[in-house]
């Protein structure tokens, strides 16, 4: 069974950002929030939240810089 065959995943991959990092952030967002709800405010959950934000915040400058390199 491919990842594309899972209903929600399939919908996100087809109608979503068409970008692997944003697709992953979209699909993992509810999971991360679910983990925070179950675990509470613990170092592990805080680390997970920080990691999610770092990936999001870091990916934008990365895309900008790689886009500039391609333009040169």
């Amino acid at each position: 069974m491919n990842l594309d065959d899972v209903p929600v995943v399939n919908y996100v991959l087809e109608s979503g950002p068409d970008d692997p990092v944003f697709d992953t952030l979209l699909l993992s967002g509810p999971l991360v929030i679910g983990i925070l709800a179950l675990v509470g405010r613990e170092p592990v959950s805080v680390g997970l939240g920080v990691l999610y934000l770092l990936v999001f915040a870091g990916y934008l400058p990365y895309k900008w810089l790689s886009g500039r390199d391609q333009d040169r």
């Binding site: 996100v12 109608s15 979503g16 950002p17 944003f22 952030l25 979209l26 967002g29 509810p30 991360v32 929030i33 925070l36 709800a37 805080v46 939240g49 920080v50 999610y52 934000l53 999001f56 934008l60 400058p61 990365y62 895309k63 900008w64 790689s66 886009g67």
Partner: protein
């Protein structure tokens, strides 16, 4: 309703079916919180719009694509219908608690909790709350939001979140109906720019951007120290620039500078147009300063916050520069982004309604202007302000150049011909004039119906600008005890504010003409 109104009936039916889906999505929240007594009320709240919607869509299934007139009527009537049917959860849950059926065992409430929930037994209060939610206004009929059942807290949040993007945008995304009809409806819901050539792709892109930002905002607020349930609700209403809260004193309840500052970027995200978000997410960061509206937005947020901070500091409202800046920045961004979160309340510092008149008017200015068109905000919007300012300057400087000179009005990266400039300037002027006409009308009515000497003119102007700009900040006028006439006018102000007035006037004209009131 004859054939010419068939597209209106069919599309309102579709919107009502989408609404019933929203109610059904709420049921898991009730189950998670163990509020089983709300289930019959929620099921009935889903069933009524579903049945009404099915009836309309099947009766008008052969209707043609909507034209411009129909598009505006669908937007106006559809939003009203959605607000009306969306009030059912408030109304039915309040009556469930009041009637206390044996099998359902609802909680026994007392004091402020009882009065908060029982306020929604009045249908007008329930419709007010629903309209306030869907339009992203945030003015409320509740006395203490913390006392609401979790299901109603969620429902208020959820309808603001959906309303921020738009009910028609939601319906289009679900139905995936391509063609000119969807474009017409999309444009009637106060949106113009497309992200992709296809309207269905455009609305789907809007939704994934909005969803991604929601997850990011929830995590930002949670890491800033907000409890998770608060973070989920405030992230959703903050991003949608709606402003409903689940706490008694809005964001002031937390009394945390970190949370105040963490909410600033959330509200800013909601103030930027979706096409610009899309470009930024593609790595085109220069749009943060090359796009006219985004540039102006940062300029206004910065300048307005500094001015407001200076006003409240120099007037002695706050003793320290830090406090003045903290509350000035938050309240100006909250006002101009049309969010309506409040940190200036009596329980922690000085309520907005008690700020000096010049500070209240500065906040009012932010609420009237609003931020970027194409985002989730209300108000006149920056692109119209830019068009008016640049257009007036263009007209005045026209006198100083020879008649033979060919001049172009430049707005952002567009150079408009004389005809296009006249059209855009005319549209911006019409919206702005109508905006002030309805602002003045409701202000006049409120001054008549409110108890004398209880509220100042700046309090009333503030509240009306808040309702019509879909902001939600309050100087203390709005509440369940507000005169009925005031509630009815605010319902109208919120409705026209969300749809930028014209579609509502088109609908009313069509109704009055067909009703024979005038020809």
């Amino acid at each position: 309703m004859n054939g010419s109104y068939a597209p209106v009936g069919r599309d309102i039916g579709r919107m009502l079916q989408a609404l019933s889906g929203l109610v059904l999505i709420t049921i898991p929240v009730s189950l998670v919180w163990g509020e089983y007594y709300v289930l019959p009320a929620l099921l009935l709240s889903a069933l009524v719009p579903l049945a009404s919607g099915r009836l309309l869509t099947s009766a008008f299934r052969d209707a043609s694509d909507p034209g411009k007139l129909h598009g505006m009527m669908v937007a106006a009537a559809g939003w009203f219908a959605v607000a009306l049917f969306g009030s059912l959860p408030f109304f039915l849950i309040a009556w469930t608690v009041a009637l206390d059926p044996v099998l359902l065992e609802p909680p026994t409430l007392s004091g402020r909790a009882a009065s908060t929930v029982s306020a929604f037994r009045n249908p007008l209060n329930a419709v007010f709350e629903s309209m306030s939610g869907f339009t992203g206004t945030g003015l409320t009929m509740t006395d203490n939001e913390e006392a609401l059942p979790r299901t109603l807290q969620w429902w208020r949040t959820f309808i603001e979140w959906v309303g921020g993007v738009g009910v028609i945008v939601l319906t289009t995304a679900i139905l995936a109906r391509p063609g000119s009809g969807s474009l017409t409806l999309y444009e009637s819901e106060a949106r113009s720019e497309k992200i992709h050539p296809s309207i269905v792709s455009t609305v789907r892109t809007i939704w994934w951007i909005f969803l991604l930002f929601t997850f990011v905002s929830i995590l930002v607020l949670w890491l800033a120290g907000m409890p998770l349930w608060g973070a989920i609700n405030h992230a959703m209403t903050g991003l949608a620039t709606g402003g409903f809260s689940i706490t008694d004193n809005s964001i002031a309840t937390y009394d945390s500078a970190v949370i105040d500052f963490a909410l600033i970027p959330v509200m800013i995200l909601g103030s930027i147009a979706f096409p610009i978000h899309y470009l930024i997410l593609q790595g085109d960061l220069k749009n943060l300063y090359t796009d006219l509206q985004t540039r102006w937005m940062f300029g206004f947020f910065g300048g307005g916050s500094v001015l407001l901070s200076a006003l409240v500091y120099l007037s002695g409202t706050y003793d320290s520069w830090f406090d003045a800046f903290r509350y000035g920045l938050f309240q100006f961004v909250s006002a101009m982004s049309c969010t309506g979160f409040q940190t200036a309340v009596d329980s922690t510092n000085v309520a907005l309604g008690k700020w000096p008149a010049q500070a209240q008017l500065t906040v009012t200015f932010g609420m009237v202007v609003g931020a970027a068109a194409g985002s989730t905000v209300g108000g006149i919007k920056l692109i119209r302000l830019a068009t008016l300012v640049k257009g007036i300057r263009h007209r005045i400087t026209d006198v100083f150049v020879p008649d033979t000179a060919v001049r172009r009005l430049e707005i952002g990266d567009r150079r408009l011909t004389e005809e296009a400039a006249n059209r855009e300037l005319g549209e911006a002027a019409i919206i702005a004039v109508l905006w002030f006409v309805f602002l003045a009308l409701t202000t006049f009515v409120l001054l008549l119906v409110l108890p004398e000497s209880q509220y100042t003119l700046e309090n009333v102007l503030f509240e009306v600008a808040s309702a019509q700009g879909n902001v939600g900040l309050s100087s203390g006028i709005t509440g369940p005890g507000m005169p009925t006439v005031g509630k009815l006018f605010f319902l109208f102000n919120m409705w026209i504010g969300r749809l930028e007035i014209i579609p509502v006037l088109v609908l009313l004209r069509a109704l009055f003409t067909r009703g024979g009131l005038y020809r």
